[in-house]
Symmetry: C2
Subunit: 321 residues, 2 copies
């Protein structure tokens, strides 16, 4: 009987795998960090070994699985099961057929998807999105990811790269260049890897830090330091958070106009700044939406947090496609 | 036998209705202009009379229809069949139950949808989108409309207002205010009703018109005059067109990142400026997409032109929802 779900969350530093019951409760899970210096095949074999170990330790046969869902940070060709490219691994994945390589070793169905898609699906099935059928999940972390669900199905586009909201242009005249080479992408105006640059701009304009940040050490400023800055009433930290929230608020508003979902769920490292961040995002959203919202739309925090990817990857085996 | 499709395109100045065969060929159609000063019920009754007239003239019974599809410019609640609001009519529609009022008079299924959705569906079934299943239709006319099709179904969102791409923010620091009250909406940077303001900006900066436009008459500048300007090598007309295309190019790029469709189809009055407009849009799109396009995406002109709405409305009766 296909009673168990297997999920894998394959990140650049952390590799997690878990076995879950169909209701999302955990049977067993493990995480390792020993894959990060391996090449493409080495990483794939580490994934295979980790799943096999979990199955063996729990006396679960391949045939007992609904399937294996694997999620990764990067551009994924869902239809073909390829990792197109990812900046999160030293190994240079380039249209690498990870799904097929894993599938050859297990007598069950294997799915490969982007991590934001998995997180969105996890929230739909077991998190803040239960009881909804149209939702948008946004994660604001080192980068910005997004999973779009319409009628309880993920929108993946032609090959699987839909949801790249981080690279939508929200301010074409911005002087901040994103890693993609464009100016004013949502990601470059809101995400963790750009916080130091945002802080630097205020320092350069003569504003004073109250948490000891200056031009010599500003490159170390990150989400963790911002949380400390907020606790210490550091004016610049608060302005940086507001700038990030303002960009995310535009992103949420634009997605609202394009897709009119029932609910936005926001997760990722920056949401650890707490309610103030959500309030700022909602304030920007409402200032733009004016009278154009005909039905109440909620903006809620992720309910699954860090485990959304792993649980979501497992849940993808339940998706009706 | 349900062999015919009935479509209605209800615009602020023109009301069209048509009967089509299931392959999209026309059986009969009519357009009238005598509805525009009527109140909400008056307009609805005019629609009912026009459909009845077409059916009677062609000896078609209600039961011979697959259904009646009605499309309108405005915010439509698809699920409930309400016209939420529209700026295209003197009559102040306000959550007006037009679908139900029409349905009461015919023994067939009635659908109400936004005109851009109908046009998108028309292109999918009978136009430039045949052989595709994921497409985005954009119309750049007096305003900007959009219909999104995924897996051969329209994405309507929670209640039917998805696709309002014209109100997405593409330049928050723009000094141009859209009719919605926000700055830098795609619509306010590209559509027909904002061309005069764009022309004025260049005149004010000291540029010279070669088609006799000056600050005293610039408010009359529109898409038709722009076409003349392009023929006469008017430098400002070309710049205005390029500005519009640049904003549309950002819009297309943002939609590409969010939805990864197979094809974009662009229609509406501004596309009458010809290939140069498409080239400018594509150039902007490609300049932003850089290496992030993993599969070729086409940008094509609408194949149905002005009849897309009417034919699309009729085709909506074939949609599997």
């Amino acid at each position: 009987m296909k009673r168990y779900l297997c999920g894998v969350d394959l990140g650049g530093t952390k590799l997690s795998a878990g076995i879950f019951n169909a209701d999302g409760t955990v049977v067993d899970k493990r995480k390792v960090f020993d894959h990060k210096d391996l090449d493409c095949d080495g990483i794939t074999n580490r994934v295979i070994a980790l799943i096999r170990e979990l199955l063996d330790n729990n006396g679960i046969m391949d045939e007992d699985l609904q399937g294996i869902g694997i999620c990764m940070a990067g551009h994924v060709n869902y239809k073909k099961g390829l990792l197109i490219t990812s900046s999160n691994f030293k190994a240079g994945f380039n249209n690498y057929p990870i799904r097929e390589k894993v599938a050859r070793k297990f007598r069950t169905h294997v799915i490969l998807d982007n991590d934001a898609n998995a997180q969105a699906y996890g929230e739909l099935m077991f998190g803040a999105g239960r009881n909804f059928s149209d939702l948008i999940f946004l994660t604001v972390s080192t980068g910005v990811g997004c999973g779009i669900i319409v009628d309880r199905k993920l929108i993946r586009g032609m090959t699987g790269t839909a949801g790249e909201v981080g690279h939508t242009i929200v301010d074409p005249h911005s002087d901040v260049m994103c890693s993609c080479g464009n100016h004013g992408c949502l990601m470059s105006l809101s995400s963790g890897q750009y916080l130091a640059g945002m802080y630097r701009k205020y320092l350069a304009a003569g504003e004073k830090s109250s948490i000891g940040v200056d031009l010599s050490n500003v490159d170390d400023f990150n989400g963790m330091m911002m949380r400390r800055g907020l606790e210490d009433d550091d004016v610049i930290s608060r302005k940086v958070l507001a700038d990030s929230a303002s960009a995310v608020g535009i992103g949420v508003y634009n997605l609202f106009q394009v897709l009119n979902p029932e609910i936005f769920i926001i997760g990722g490292g920056l949401t650890n700044c707490g309610e103030i961040y959500f309030d700022m995002i909602e304030e920007k959203f409402l200032s733009l939406v004016k009278k154009m919202m005909y039905d109440k739309i909620e903006i809620r925090p992720s309910a699954l947090g860090n485990s959304a990817g792993l649980l979501g990857a497992a849940a993808l085996t339940l998706e009706q496609v």
